[in-house]
Symmetry: C2
Subunit: 186 residues, 2 copies
């Protein structure tokens, strides 16, 4: 049975954000055109999105509430990198916190931007293989439901109302192409 979404007790607009800063940039293009654009600056350490490969045919998805869209979304585990950890270490930590597995094999297969036009954020796509059960306590308000999915059935995710995140969909197809040997990271 699907979980009940959280109750929203209050919302308020704020002037400053703990984790987002807005920067104006004065630009001159090679044809002499000038523009001032705004961009959002991320926290700087970057983020990871993890493709946990349970076996050659199966990826592990999580169902997580997102306050941005105010619904439970089915997608890949992800999170921000902490200080003093590599991309692979951050991916392994998030995997243990959100999915309850560690990985003996971690490989960065790509890098995704959120919106090249106005966000500096970049997310590393990390393929996690050779999994073993291990859980770390995270800052999630509730345990995430883990949903195994067949790589051969990614197309069945596309029509769903609760599968909308560009990065998750992109990373899943990237992983499938990678596992099929059709692309190698630079």
């Amino acid at each position: 049975m699907p979980r009940k979404p959280p109750v929203i007790h209050a919302t308020r607009l704020v002037d400053a954000s703990r984790f987002l800063r807005v920067e104006q940039v004065d630009l001159e293009f090679s044809n002499g055109e000038r523009r001032t654009y705004e961009r959002l600056k991320g926290s700087g350490l970057g983020a990871v999105i993890i493709v946990p490969v349970r076996d050659a045919e199966t990826v592990l998805l999580v169902r997580e509430y997102g306050v941005g869209v105010n619904r439970y979304e089915l997608g890949l585990p992800k999170g921000r990198l902490d200080h003093d950890e590599t991309i692979e270490q951050g991916a392994d930590r998030e995997l243990k916190e959100e999915v309850g597995y560690g990985a003996r094999e971690l490989r960065v297969i790509g890098r995704l931007s959120l919106s090249p036009a106005y966000m500096t954020h970049e997310t590393y796509v990390v393929l996690a293989q050779d999994l073993y059960p291990e859980r770390l306590p995270g800052d999630e308000p509730e345990e995430l439901e883990v949903v195994p999915w067949k790589f051969a059935e990614l197309h069945k995710l596309l029509g769903r109302e609760d599968v909308t995140e560009g990065r998750s969909i992109a990373a899943l197809f990237m992983a499938r192409e990678y596992l099929a040997g059709r692309f190698r990271p630079a």
Copy 2:
């Protein structure tokens, strides 16, 4: 020859933004856990990302400078919806402005979120078919280079340093699955 990226004359942090608002949300999860999260509120009208299908095998990409990542990115045309236009009309307008084509057939095949965890933004994925040449003046500082690409070679985009946008990659694979008859929008 690749274009020279624009010169950055100045950058400055600003407190208020023309198009970004931050909202705090007080939440209570079904297990009683309480959290206050921040989310970015989009402009409300939403955005479109267009998959321009030139012929059964070929999609038209554009090369556009993005100040967020400070480089030219190869991806799909996109833009924000204006007042008083439908999703299809907005997609057709952006297509004419950025690619120099109109489309006789426009179909919404999906909806992508940027970051479910902290952004309200949603982008409609619009498949544009039966194209004909027509250009509308846009607000772009320079004409965009149009790059035809084979649907059969999407995997060759994945290793590239200048192809990183999650929404573009997701929308391209969605379109390929749709055109192959493997998924139908709800």
